[in-house]
Amino acid sequence: MTAMTSVRESAPRLAVASLPLLTLFATAVLAQDAAPAAAAAAAAVAPTVDKGDVAWMLVSTLLVTLMAVPGLALFYGGLVRAKNMLSVLMQVLVVFSLILVLWAAYGYSLAFVGGNAVIGSLDKLFLAGVTKESLADTFTATVKLPEYVFIAFQATFAAITCALIVGSLAERVKFSAVLLFSVLWFTFCYLPIAHMVWGAGGYLLGKGALDFAGGTVVHINAGVAGLVGAYFLGKRTGLGKEKMAPHNLPLTMTGASLLWVGWFGFNAGSNLEATSGAALAFINTLMATAAAVLSWSALEALLRRKASMLGGASGAVAGLVAITPACGTVGVMGAIVIGLVAGVVCFWGVTGLKRLLGADDTLDVFGVHGVGGISGALLTGVFTAPALGGTGAADFSIAHQLGVQALGVGITVVWSAVVATLAYLVVKAVFGLRVSVDEEREGLDVAAHGESAYEL
C-alpha cells in the first residue's frame, strides 16, 4: 500500500494569473540590464504563446459551442413531444446565450480571478484590465494562452452547464422561470463550484480532487439542480396516462452525435495545450463513449430483448459524462472500463433509480448527468492509479484519492441542491414555475413562443 498522505499532484486546470505586468517587467529587465546572468534568468521565465495551442483552443471552444447549439438542443428537442419542440430549442439557445454574456460581465472574474477558497474576486468585473496582450496559464509554467481564449473557452462550459438543466424542467416550465433560475443558479452555484475545483486557491483544488474536464462542476452540478427542479415543478399533466414518447429520435441521434464530436473540445480542450495530454484525453473520450454505447445496448438487449436507438444514444452521453473528469489522468483501458460501467449505471439511473426518486425528470438529466458524473468522479480516483494504467504518481493511493473524490462529489451535490432549492423558491415567488394546465395541453411552442415546429 502506498502512503495515505501522498497524493499525486493533480493536473487541474490552472487559474489565470495576471501576467502581463510580469511580462513587461521581464522585458524591461532584458532591455536595461546587460548582465548576462540576469538576462539568462529573465529569459528562462519568459512565457511563450504557442500558435498551435491557440489554434487548438479556439477550435475546442467552437466544439463546445457545437455541443450546446445545436447538439444539446437537438438531443433534447427530439425527446420531447412535437408540441414542445421549439420551447426546448429556445430554452437551450437563450440560456446558453444568457450565461455567455453573464460570464463576461462577472462570471469569469468570480470563478477564476483571485479570491479565497470558495469564490473568486470582482477584480476583472466586465473583464476589466483584460487586453489582447493579457495571458492565461496553461499546465506548463512557461506556456501561456491569450486570456481571451481562456475566457471564451470557460464561458462555453458555464453556459452549457446551465443549458443542461433545461432537460429536467422541459414540457411544463415557464420560459421566464428558466431564465431567472439560470441566472441565480449560475451565480450562486456554478461560479463557487468552478472556483473551488479549478480556481487558484480553490478548496477542492487544494484537496487534490481530480476533475480534468468538469465532471463535478458541470455534470453532477447540473444533474442535481435538474432533479431538484423536477421535484419543485411536479409531474407533467397526464404522466403515466398519456403517451409521452419522443417525437423525433433521428434528431436525438443527430444531437447525440454532435455532442460526441463537440465533447472532444470539452475534454481534450481542457488540456489547454495541443500536447500529448490532449491526445490522451482525446482517445479516452473516443473509447469510453464507444464502450458505454456497447454496454447500454447490450444491457437493453439482455433485459428487454431489443437494443433501442435511444438506448445507444443515451449510452454515448453517459460514457461522455463519465469520462469527463477522468479523461486526462486515466489510461485507455481504464477509460473503456469507465465507459462500460457508465452505460450500466446510467441505464439504472433512468429506470430503477428514477422510479425510486419519483421525480418527473423529463429528459433524465439526473439519471444520465448526475449518476454518470458521480460514477465518473469516483472511478477517476481508481483508474488514475498507475497500477491500473493511469498517470498517477508511483505513490498514488486509490483509497485516499477516492476519499477526496467523494468529498468533491458530496460538496457539489449538497451545494447544488441547497442553492437550487433557494433559487426555485425565489423563482416561484417572482414568476411562478409552471405554465397553466391549458397551456401545457396546448404545448409550450404555441403557448410560450407563439409558433409551431411543424406544419402538417
Binding site: A245, K306, S314, T351, K354, R355
Partner: protein, 112 residues
C-alpha cells in the same frame, strides 16, 4: 349503388389495387389510418417509460360501385388482401344513396 369500405394491411395495397382494376373498379380513395381489431399492437420502451401502442397502421380504401358488381369486388379484395393471419382487415358494404360527377353533373351509376 353500394359504398365499399375496406381496411387492409398497408403492404397489400398494390395487390388489392390491381385486383380491383381487373374487377372493373374505375375509381378508388385510399387513406392511411390506425385502428385495432383482434390483432395486438406492440410495446414501445423509451428508457424507463413503457407505452403500449394498441393502434396498428392500416389502409382504408373506399370505392362506390354498381349494385351488381358488389360480390365480385368484395371477392377480389378478399382474395388479394388475405394472408390468413390475424390482422388481414375487414370489408364493409353500405347502401349508397346518390353519386354525382362534378364535371358533367351525371348522377347514379353513370357517375361512378
Amino acid at each position: 349503388m353500394k359504398f365499399i369500405i375496406a381496411i387492409i394491411r398497408p403492404f397489400k395495397l398494390d395487390e388489392v389495387r390491381d385486383a380491383l382494376a381487373q374487377a372493373g373498379v374505375t375509381g378508388l380513395t385510399v387513406t392511411e389510418v390506425k385502428g385495432y381489431g383482434r390483432q395486438k399492437g406492440h410495446t414501445e420502451l423509451y428508457r424507463g417509460a413503457e407505452y403500449v401502442v394498441d393502434f396498428v397502421p392500416k389502409i382504408k380504401l373506399e370505392a362506390a360501385v354498381p349494385d351488381e358488381r358488389v360480390d365480385v369486388i368484395v371477392d377480389a379484395i378478399s382474395e388479394a388482401a388475405r394472408t390468413d393471419k390475424v390482422g388481414d382487415g375487414k370489408i364493409f358494404v353500405l347502401d349508397l344513396v346518390q353519386a354525382t360527377r362534378i364535371r358533367t353533373g351525371e348522377t347514379g351509376d353513370d357517375a361512378l
